[in-house]
Amino acid sequence: MSGRTVIPFGPQHPVLPEPIHLDLVVEDEKVVEAIPSIGFIHRGLERLVEKKDFVDFTYVAERICGICSFIHGMTYCMAVEELLKLEIPERAKYLRVIWSELSRIHSHLLWMGLTADAFGFESLFMQSWQLREKILDIIEETTGGRVIFGSAKVGGVRRDISADKLQDILKKLRSYQNQFAEIGGVFLRDATVKHRMQGVGVLTSEQAQVLGAVGPTLRGSGIAADLRMTGYAAYGKLGFSPVVETAGDCYARCQVRIRELDQSVDLIEKAAAQMAEGPIEVKVAGTPTGDFFARTEQPRGEVIYYAKGNGTKFLQRMRVRTPTFANIPPLLTMLGGCQLADVPVIVLTIDPCISCAER
């Protein structure tokens, strides 16, 4: 048996959009163990609740992540609305679903591009991001921002989408579905892609459950767990059932995300059909008291916002548990026993968002 060597992976690495460091203990080309270290981009955003009042903090919550910014803002608002005992209007709930699903589509397309780039398929990377750009255009038309939506607010949403605009968006999304299928088909059927993904980074359903995996990482291992099943916002009225794959490898996680693209378009269609005219926000009165955990499903998995109010306009405590943080222990299990060359692909299949995880 040859000796063990420790190879540093990250924080700067060509496949990593954000900094995470892994010490890879290798025997020849085989990874025996991976030791993570995080904390390179901690910004201390949670502490800012002491300086920003509970309404203004929505802007900070949205900036925790650049990809699922809307869902961060929305989850924070859900936590505060619960503390204020506010019931938001129905239309606002549907609009929240529409924007959440749009951000899921753009996040998954971003992930597809990054993964294609990780296994060296440049044209597939460009193609995925070209599609993502069209989704960003829809987001810009409806919210005014491309990355930071700025449309979530305590008590509802900031902007409405007119019926004509909604039909226009649906028409566009339906036409993009063919392109999702075209790009998704390359991921799911191309021999070179399958060769890099099938049987790589296997996480069994028992391991996924014990290690607390969330999101597509969990659903790719055969566990039908998705926070949207709890019916927050308007999901309860849309007949949602999660996408599940059973293989537990990188390919299964990829399948889940590609199938979720179509599912998100369906959810937007259903939300648009059910949405009735009405107000989009309620007046905020009072100050938050008590504590509450708000849980929602981001593109990467479950996010938990804990908020504790003490009757002043500043929250006493705010804590975020992001999906990437929950997916790091499963990642370490996946890396044990894999080939060194497979590490970038495995790391990317959990869709790591490090600035989320460190805040």
Binding site: Y59, E133, R158, V186, T192, K194
Partner: protein, 120 residues
């Protein structure tokens, strides 16, 4: 299982030409409602200072004596909080961003002064 699954798409792309816009030769068209820079109709402003209090990044400074409305463009996050609370509706978001700043400067607006003056 296919080996050349991307070929059709690549051939289509070769015929279609570039997807990217030819900026700056072709000007960028912004959708209505895009959140760009904050504009003020200074002669309608009553210098109440509500926008200053509501600004989450403290980018706006309003003084009553002398009457000035100053915005730090680098601090502004174009969130439209000021636009929503303005009682005289003299604030509006342009669809375009402000030109790139090359120094830390602020745009000052004075009543009847016309174009804003920039101060460091």
């Amino acid at each position: 299982m296919s080996l050349l699954g991307m070929t059709g798409t690549i051939i289509k792309n070769l015929c279609a030409g570039p997807v990217t816009e030819r900026y700056p030769f072709v000007p960028k068209e912004y959708p209505a409602g895009a959140r760009g820079k904050v504009n003020i109709e200074i002669n309608k402003c009553i210098f109440c200072g509500i926008c200053q209090r509501k600004c989450p990044t403290a980018a706006i400074t309003v003084t009553k004596e002398p009457k000035t409305w100053v915005i730090d463009r680098l601090r502004c996050i174009s969130c439209s909080a000021c636009v929503e609370v303005c009682p005289k509706k003299c604030l509006a978001l342009d669809v375009k961003y402000s030109p790139c700043s090359v120094a830390a400067q602020k745009d000052s607006f004075l009543p009847d002064a016309g174009t804003p003056s920039q101060t460091a």
